[in-house]
Symmetry: C2
Subunit: 219 residues, 2 copies
């Protein structure tokens, strides 16, 4: 499976403010670019932190991109994926609507009642890992369901785990020309953090987009 | 006074790992560039967090840059400045050696015994602010001592306060092609963080340096 992480951060590496409210970091050109990456993906993933903070829809905005997918025999929108060990995704989350398949990756520790609630709300559950979602196992399960190209849109906890597991193939990072600041604000890669053997990426592209810069890395 | 902030961060905005140990983020070309910015400055500032973590010397490495300063009648190295409200800088800190003037910015809350210890160790004290160093006042005092061009090398607590006080004129940020990660690792701009009215900068330059990218902003 090809895993493409895409995110927008302030120049100090923040995905949002310490209040975890969405901040407009990029502009229209970057939104269009993100929509195109989504359109090329079989599924788009986020962590449950992002679902709880932003309630994103993760569907395509541009009707032309939807039409192009349908022309090539794909579903109109990529599937949505949430990494959610304890099945905390609210049953009225926008990613569970019927615009596209919604996979919720849960661990064995997810309470039965929550699993059933999510299934009734239309989610397809993937169980992987004892306490926390095992991303390698869950991604294998997604692959066996036909997900060959996975886009990951955040947040920083999920992205760190993906780097830790060596699962990232490609990273596109929009660096907005703004400072968010805050020692408690979410960053592009949170988690425990590395203290040695830092993953080193290869900088493929550098391009000005909107009033910031788009950095493209191969991993 | 012209304030130029320079730092090297990982692509996720971290200045070092959660252990606050120095991480080699950039390479030789970037080190040379930093030395040149230092050489053009009247003084180089850090927060006491950086002194305690890294014990930097903040003097010039390149003898040609030293000679050029002496040719134009400047002291061989720029002055060193520490923002250190309670005068916690160790008396054997490298920045207090006699390579150049060392200003320690303290607040009125700094204990007398610590102030005297630092003065005996060769520091020139600047008192500004009641509990915490007032950066605008301290910078005025530095300006009256002839500091027209101040370079700031970090860390993230000091840099955030400078943005908060609107004191930054220019930012050069080397973004290394590595992930450090860690929700507790220091970032380019820590502090409380902004929740609205985020400072917006103007991206002047984008240049590949070593295996990363150098971003230059005007504020
Ligand atoms: N600027 C952008 O591009 C962008 C994009 C996305 C999000 N954001 C912002 O990011 C913030 C949310 O980020 P976040 O870091 O708090 O949350 P996140 O990464 O979206 O979700 C983290 C949660 O995912 C769950 N998870 C399940 N398995 C995991 C695993 N193996 N590794 C890591 N996490 C796993 C964990 O909860 P369980 O333990 O309960 O499973 C974890 O707390 C919001 O403020 C949002 O606005 C910004
Ligand atoms: N990669 C790089 O380019 C780079 C550069 C520098 C540092 N670093 C790393 O950054 C880390 C240290 O950063 P840090 O953020 O902990 O420390 P810092 O910014 O160097 O120092 C912060 C301290 O400065 C003092 N200070 C005095 N007046 C202040 C004011 N008005 N606003 C803010 N701080 C004020 C405060 O202590 P008091 O309250 O006691 O005064 C504060 O805790 C280290 O891990 C170091 O390796 C990396």
């Amino acid at each position: 499976m090809h895993v493409h992480v895409n995110a927008a951060a302030s120049l100090d590496g923040k995905l949002s403010s310490r209040r975890r409210e969405q901040v407009k970091i990029s502009g229209d050109d970057d939104f269009d670019r993100v929509d195109e990456i989504r359109a090329a993906a079989d599924a788009v993933a986020v962590g449950v932190g992002t679902v709880l903070a932003d309630d994103p829809h993760l569907a395509l905005d541009d009707p032309d991109l939807v039409a192009a997918r349908e022309d090539r025999g794909d579903p109109p929108h990529p599937a949505r994926v949430v990494a959610d060990s304890r099945a905390r995704t609210p049953t009225d989350a926008r990613i569970l609507d019927d615009a596209a398949t919604a996979y919720v990756l849960v661990s064995e520790a997810a309470p039965d009642a929550r699993r059933e609630a999510l299934e009734s709300a239309g989610a397809e559950l993937v169980v992987a890992g004892a306490e926390r979602v095992s991303l390698p196992d869950a991604f294998d399960a997604l692959e066996s369901r036909g997900v060959e190209r996975l886009m990951v849109e955040g947040g920083g906890e999920l992205i760190f785990s993906l780097f830790e597991a060596g699962l990232v193939d490609e990273l596109t990072l929009y660096v907005g020309s703004m400072v968010i600041g805050g020692r408690d604000a979410p960053t592009l890669a949170d988690g425990e953090g590395f203290v040695a053997d830092f993953p080193r990426l290869s900088l493929r592209g550098v391009e000005r987009v909107d009033d910031g810069v788009l950095l493209t890395y191969d991993c």
